[in-house]
Symmetry: D3
């Protein structure tokens, strides 16, 4: 029988995304879609957080999850064997997609809470959540969700970004894409000495904010330092720092604006002079292989500012894939 | 258990679209997705035909089905009550989406045959197929599918277009988006005297081709005639002509280029001077209300040539909705 | 002496817009910029409300005020004599621009309140505020600001839109661009019988919401009615309705999506089948000439979705100009 | 033998366009290309004037000739039979293309002179020149070239535009796209009483400039008048006015911005509220059929501001085609 | 006398391109255009193959030949002296353009055959053909044409690409842009041990396909290997491999997607993480200087997905120019 | 009192830009705006030169000054502390913006003269002028203005560009964006031996022009040389050369097309194969720190050809910021 609208409406699962307008309507590269309450035996769970009301400039990252999931020319069959290794991370890890968290633009707090709850739910089920943003505000609930499961202060956060995102207030608000890292430090979810930031540049935040970060023992690698020392050395240091002091694992947060906006223009707060595509892909794969990834996110992809070729969404899609590939190699080599 | 790729591959249903790269990945406005072999009690079946290798100029209509299905700002919940009537055509008619027909660019003949088979399958199940194109080549298999079910010569075809599409050959080939109407006449599926064409203009086809159409007793309304006589009168005539001589019903084919390219720029062969948006929407609704619609298609939406606001895809989406609304009003008033 | 940053920061006037990132950085067509606390003898005050967190789909209207102010090819000299009349509304009325209201995306309530306060401040000074949006949420505080000054229930609201915007809740929130008209009716600021809506079409809101509007005695003109009766007759009726029952004046709210998205694609929730450019311009001018305008707004211009030619922003700019021209003609003819 | 560069350079014909960078590289719709000094028995000669240094705002019209020539989806075979009549104007009239006049951005005067010389050369050979612009500055040399051949004051100029283009000075210069009509009147080439202007609107030029035009007995139809009286009546009047007083023929100048920028966004100084596509096409065809066309131009198409669908260039291409069609019908009916 | 259309139609030369709609309408950078049957004493012959029906995702490469030929800001005079050497390759080599091969989208086989025939015709005349694509399918007929002249198995193919293009079937078809290299190996035209592939990355093709390539003794350099070893070393190896075993010369095939899509977004199947612009240009020039080039192609440029600045078409144009420059240096130094 | 238009018109300051149509309407990143005749104690003066009539291909650089000033996501508050140093160059140097020089497209000579006069005025006041272009023609008046103050032949010019810009004539004119460097040498303002050019590549100008440059003792670094020797070494040489022979200081001219068009597509004459973003930013900062900067310009940003993300304008904005930062570091370290 044809199910009428009213009846179907009651079937909406918790983290489903079909019932609000800017949610993504398909799964990441066609991997299996699962409801929140039946994650199966997957090892990795993809979810979207189409949240962009924390942005201080260009909006549009609400369409990021949809764009990232579909930015590919291959069949949407959940099968992507890695050329250098032949490993298909989808099969090796078991990857499912639970759709987008229900975001309410008019209710920032509730949205933040729902993201944190969903991430925690996934983590508690023993899976690794990978969250597709959305603006960078979401790393606050993302890492909070991980902390609720794996313990406050128990994991490191490796943060790729042009910006430190450690502001105290953002136009009078504690919440926004310029403040998540401070919120995480303040809450104890990720203490400063477990933070590694890579790719910072430009003219923000102010010196006193940077000074605060140093006091918190955040480890910060500016682009100028990467140019001077070489990326390999910086990543070596990052790995050492991240696993130092007995961290259980890492959360990897990639703001696409860590990449040069000439290469990744579809973003809200572009800062020229960043990494190139090859560098971010290789670095993410290496980190996911060398470290125990507890979760990750890719944020600040804003499709209305991307080129007609959608190069930014494609790059973000590959950042996720390389993270999966690194994790799959780690799992494979671990036997 | 997590199903590996190889196993899942065997589950591909006949008309599914998840396994090729440019297929649409969601259903029309979120209406229920159904497999080919289980259409349920729906009255209308949406399907996509992402076929654009029949185009003589700009390609890109292969992305038409995906764009048309998603061109909306509302929740993807398969619920769209019409403002003037309050009728929700999805519930009134029962509308499901079976995804995209498997098109093989390198094998035009097989693709054509699969489209015809799928349309016939739907029609034979007693449902009304509405096909999202794709270029206008597909009206040939679309109407052939209808003819196999409802009888050759037994229904009228009302054709909105800037172009007559009655060419004999297209760069040496019988198949293409410039020839479908001739193929239909030649095959007897839709004889010339059951053809109504509305909106023709410009400088193609050649006078002898137009003469051939007149010999076939095709009824043709040029834009210049619409300007002179008024659209209302032309549609009155079209209705009379379409139901004349005992036709069982009609197939409505809408080439989006019947609309002025200033309003609907995302198309392959734009011809300035067409209808406006309001005119096409009202006309389609009226026809679907006044006539017995056996099937319909909307073709030639080419997303890479659309504006950033996607105005062409939105208009095509509403052409489908107004067709559904007219059918729903007809059904409702019929009690 | 060169004033350092810290000192200059203290000089920020109330409604200034230079100190947040997506504020407009120039005045409407170069008319004089004035601070909030020194409006001078201007008769009309332009202000921006770069608020787009109430939108349910595409964002971007935060860049509307900047785009509308600059959408012109002439010198930015605050001089625009009307071709048919020779009247320069800037000089006739005295028009100044006080910049953008300080909007805090993360604090919807405070933003709403600041908009209402600013509008009320302008109205209380005896000037006519014209607000450049932003999404349609702002008509709630806009008209509230007018009501605080001119009295609750004392003026009519003529509302051009594809959508009724009378939703009860928007994803659980009372505030958003789908609900402002209901909030105004509920608050008594503009009772239902003082509402005229023109241009509605499509498939939203649901029948019970439309029924609620009828119960409130809202006067609603669907596009289908405009097609049937002609725009002139509809506007005649609207004028009669608006001045009926002793209203002191009108607030005119123009959602750019009342215009066909083929012509005005740069908007968040495009609904095909609307008015054309000439119709909206002539109608606005006529209304502003025939009625006592207490305030007005133009909303939902979203520049990232506009074409490279910025046609939507240009049209919105002219909507404001024609409103000013109508008001200037009224003033001139009043002697 | 392969001809080296130095030798080929000497073969550049007068009006050839292959040797400067922004010249068009093909002929109008593939009609025969001819050198200036060998026009053959063609009746109509197309030429480009890629001149845009007279524009006061957006540039880009230098790419207009190339875009207009190629804005078509058909074979470039110089064959375009008109659907309503079956007449192919290329064959009926004999149409050739002599390429682009050599424009020197750094030398405005010389460029103007070369355009005038080329047009005069064509006219003196008894052919009808149709010039593809370029900004509207070129109508000055275009009509001067006609006047040198057919006599000063001996022909009418029908001018479609949003703007009167009768400014006295343009930022201190006598030459530019805001002044050509005044230069023509002052020079006696086209006296005011032989000028008909259709489609004016907006807020420019100033009242004293419009007054000057009235003193010159220019016949001006504002868009507001067209709305009130209907386009048919206005065109009737225009025809009467143009052939009144014994004019030998007409020059038709079409600024694409006479059309609504919603439909034709690719232009430099867009003024909302114009004609629609159908209206300009039908009007141009009618005028070219009813009047003796001595020359014509289509100007202000600026490709960088057009949409991805190139709708503005397509429309301009059809304006030329309809002008040719009207001329061909006139010739055919004249026997 | 003016030649009517019917007569002119008979003059179409074999490989002319003026008579179908998406053919290029000018020669490469203005070099001399020649008919197929009169190639003169040129050493290099440019031709276009606007074939894109082999693509599995985005189409549009049919407009590649036109875009590549015109992607320049200089005069179209067939003169481009190389800055580092002062050599003008057009004069040194003698370069002519024979236009586009007549492609029939509806007849893939015939199109493939015509491309192969044309390339063979050029090669047999002792000239070096350089083919502008078009999708990568064309490398199959391109290299077949070379093989018919210079011998099956007698030359090496250096292949720059993100993808191996060695698929067995493409949606059931043997022909397409994912299979040309397998077809070449199977046919013996280019045996596996004469293949060098540079730049591969991503997640396609499947491991068994890569294994098949290794069995064929294809030499494959992944991007990861290039990062590890340095491009210089990889190119050294490629040169050694290519001239090993007595090959007569090389065919160089450049898929523009070997370059990072951040830099070259206008392509159909973008794979992030590729070479940069400087690297591809220098490498192509070096190879063309160090090796005996028998032919070359540049493929997969899809203009509708390029940015407004046309950066991808410009880069492809320079790939051709650097190939010509390398060949010219080789010829010059050979005395 | 409200000041009417006529009175306000008389208040136009010398270098103000509010009164012509394509002038920028805000100051660089919100730094204080000052009138020409009251520069205060600022050390650096920003000005715009929206001049693009010297370009030989794409226009649009007239919108460069507006785009560059606003290409940022931060508040427009004239405060940008540098992340690596914490220094805010706005406060350290004192930076003001005097708006755009009044450019008259129709009068090239007068425009050139006004630019030179304005630059000289600023320099004579003891400030460092930084000019935002506009096309590269303006470096002629820019450096002339410096020479009038600091002496002919007394300073070096470091020129970043894909093109040498040393042409003798440009389509018959001495003035244009291909000739400024020759004009400067000929005039003695900057003798050849004080010229350093970095980043040249491609196929222009001709060998004899390059030879002339060598005779003038210009120091030229082609991209090929940068690839071979490394950028560090080239910049070392450039610094040595620039300060050799007792030059008082340097003028730094940055044509944005020195950067690869894949990264900076919004420019008029893109030449693939350039520097990357990081390289230009670091190099400019280093030069401004190591050398005594007397003035600088950034030219050839053409917004209509930029991507939707405006990556080119952002990069140009940072080129200015890094120049300021280098100068600020120099001043700070000088104590």
């Amino acid at each position: 029988m044809f199910t009428p609208y009213e009846e179907r409406k009651t079937e909406v699962p918790f983290a489903s995304s079909e019932y609000f307008s800017f949610a993504a309507r398909s799964s990441f590269l066609g991997c299996p879609a699962r409801p929140m309450n039946d994650l199966g035996d997957a090892g990795v769970v993809i979810l979207g957080a189409p949240f962009d009301i924390g942005t201080t400039y260009r909006a549009g990252a609400r369409f990021g999850p949809a764009a990232i999931r579909n930015a590919d020319y291959g069949a949407m069959d959940g099968y992507r064997p890695h050329l250098p290794t032949g490993i298909d991370p989808f099969e090796t890890l078991g990857v499912v997609d639970i759709g987008d968290v229900m975001v309410t633009p008019a209710d920032m707090e509730r949205s933040i809470e729902e993201i944190a709850d969903t991430v925690a739910h996934v983590a508690e089920a023993g899976k690794v959540p990978i969250i597709l943003g959305g603006d960078h505000t979401i790393t606050w609930p993302n890492a909070m969700g991980i902390a609720r499961t794996h313990g406050f202060g128990e994991f490191a956060l490796i943060h790729f970004d042009a910006h430190a995102d450690t502001g105290f207030l953002q136009r009078g608000s504690l919440v926004g894409h310029g403040t998540p890292m401070r919120r995480l430090i303040e809450s104890g979810a990720v203490p400063g000495h477990r933070f590694v930031q890579i790719g910072l540049r430009g003219y923000w935040p102010e010196p006193d904010v940077m000074e605060w970060g140093r006091e918190q023992k955040m480890r910060t690698f500016l682009m100028s330092q990467i140019v001077d020392e070489g990326l390999d050395k910086v990543v070596d240091d990052a790995v050492d720092y991240a696993i130092g002091g007995g961290a259980k694992g890492v959360f990897i947060s990639v703001d696409i604006d860590v990449v040069d906006p000439g290469l990744a223009p579809g973003t809200g707060t572009p800062e020229p002079g960043g990494l190139n595509s090859r560098e971010i892909l290789d670095t993410i794969r290496r980190l996911a292989k060398d470290l125990n990834v507890l979760g990750g996110d890719i944020v600040e992809v804003s499709p209305p500012y991307d080129g007609p070729g959608e190069q930014t969404a494609y790059l973000a899609n590959r950042v996720v894939l390389e993270m999966l590939n690194g994790m799959a190699e780690r799992k494979t080599s671990a036997g």
